[in-house]
Amino acid sequence: MNAIRKYSGFNKLMDLLDTVQQKMNHPAWFFTPYVTLFVVFIIIPVIIAAGLSFTYFNTIETPEFVGLSNYIELLTRDEVFMQNVLPNTIRFAFIVGPVGYFLSFILAWMLAQIPHRPRTILAIVLYSPSMTAGIAMGVVWTVLFSGDATGYLNAWMMNFGLISEPIQFLTSPDYLMNIMIVVSLWSSMGVGFLAMLAGILNIDRTLYEAAVMDGMKNRWQEIFYITIPSMKPQMLFGAVMAVVATFQVGAIGVQLSGSNPTPQYAGQLMVNHIEDFGFIRFLMGYASAVSVILLIMIYGISKVTWSLLGERD
């Protein structure tokens, strides 16, 4: 048996690999692949976006330098941006972000206090929506919220006598945004939620007991003086994930209403505005300016969370 293995081609290949590996000592072997891809597909696009935002670029002619005029136009003359897109984005982000984050924490906190098996099952269920990517889900939501009596929500509410006429959930500007918020909250228990759950489970138990000895009086004190401070790094990771997830959502409004722009721009978020100008109107310079503003907003909000939750050395 050993003799066969000794001379098999597989073993020779492994030996060869080992000889090659023996010579790979330089750090560059390790970081070059990642750094190359990181620079090409993340850093360079961000730099190009910043550069293009100062130009007029319609994809056919070479970009023409126009200074700050895209930004000036965006902030002073783009009524849709100032009256719909920006307020929508802020409203959406400031509800979905904090509420989703709070939900993730409180659910993780409760999950940590039940035994392993039920905890695992419930955690999988709560995490599962974040794995349903937008693609075909949009159609499923349209079936549930459909604006005529065949929509499930309408049919139920009419059945129970809550409403007499079906509500145009997806085409009415009054409802679209709220449904977007509900759908996003539904899928907000993602990676950050798992991180916080792991964080709570890993807190040293003796800390809690010591606190009781020292006269800690109630659950709230425990949460604020022990649980949260002991898992600050995970709280911060969860917060950053929540911020990013919130701003990344964009497709949802377009999927639900079936059009970009969304009805009366009611569900228009910055990501949709970028798509609208970049790929529908081909005003790439202008769209890039919106991208830059979006990246700056995410960075700013993350920095605020950072200073709230980050540990100071």
């Binding site: 023996q22 696009p45 693609i135 009596a149 606190a211 009086k217």
Partner: protein, 300 residues
């Protein structure tokens, strides 16, 4: 008021004071699961149940009709369903492998090797945790075009391989490995790469599983790549095919009509096909994911 007792983390068995948590967690889980149960149920509904009024949540007589239609529709468009599936499997399989490899190599260098600019690199990567790829779709397109990658398989894979979150998680995980382990292997004459493949990889398997899952979700669900960077129909993936069907179904929703309702069943079947691999992989690897997440904290 009940006397305050210290929080019982990870209890071994059931006790009465857990009831209040179940009372919130179970209804919450049911509520969250409803749309998913709906997809499963809807995907198996025959035509007459899709058209039923008042609409019924659960399927009565399950059939595979929607799945058959989904496959048949693909052949009508000239590309067999199996081709889309094959493309998706290749792109996802190769992508996940490369992502795990590239990420773990990079993470090892940031954690244990010494080189100039290492600290800066990690800081930039932490900053990039906040990166939103969708915001730079346009410049990404321009970069990819310039590199001549349009209409190649690589364009579906390469842009998604470097995941800042992945590098971050694996690096934090490797930080927990004692340096003595590496030092003693060095004394035995092992090179850095041998240490990496023989000692580090087995230890960081949970973190690699986590990167694998995240990368799988990204690649398997990606529609931006096949949508923007691919013109050749025969190179497109399942996610893309389903998106075109979805666009078709939503457009018909505006016009109303029977096609839309038939489309719903097909779309539910499509959603299910996209979702099931994700959930199965997660269920198998969730223990490893939780293990990795314990080290996920950002220390600023």
């Amino acid at each position: 008021m009940a006397k305050y007792q210290a929080m019982k983390v990870d209890p071994k068995g059931f006790s009465k004071d857990q009831l209040k948590f179940y009372a919130i967690l179970i209804p919450m889980a049911l509520f969250v699961a409803l749309p998913i149960i709906f997809i499963v149920s809807h995907a198996f509904k025959p035509m007459n149940e899709l058209f039923a009024y008042p609409p019924r949540f659960f399927v009565r007589t399950p059939t595979f009709e929607n799945f058959r239609d989904l496959v048949a529709l693909a052949s009508q468009s000239g590309i067999p369903f199996s081709k889309y599936l094959y493309n998706s499997l290749i792109v996802t399989g190769l992508g996940v492998f490369l992502s795990v490899l590239v990420t773990s190599l990079g993470a090892y260098s940031l954690s244990k090797l010494k080189f100039k600019g290492k600290k800066l690199l990690f800081e930039i990567n932490t900053l990039a945790l906040m990166f939103v790829p969708i915001a730079v779709t346009i410049p990404r397109y321009l970069t990819i075009e310039r590199l001549g990658l349009i209409d190649t398989f690589w364009v579906l894979i390469l842009p998604l391989i470097a995941m800042p979150v992945g590098l971050f998680l694996v690096k934090q995980f490797i930080d927990q490995t004692p340096d003595e382990l590496i030092e003693s292997a060095k004394i035995d004459g092992a090179s850095e790469m041998q240490i990496f493949t023989k000692i580090i990889i087995p230890i960081i398997a949970p973190a690699l599983a986590t990167v694998g899952i995240l990368s799988f979700q990204l690649l398997w669900n990606d529609v931006i790549g096949p949508n923007l960077f691919i013109d050749d129909e025969s190179m497109r993936t399942l996610a893309f095919y389903f998106q075109t069907l979805a666009a078709l179904a939503t457009n018909q929703a505006g016009a109303g009509g029977a096609n839309m309702i038939a489309g719903q069943g097909i779309m539910a079947a499509a959603s299910l096909i996209m979702f099931v691999p994700n959930i199965i992989i997660f269920i198998f690897l969730q223990g490893k994911v939780m293990n990795t997440m314990a080290h996920s904290g950002i220390k600023s």
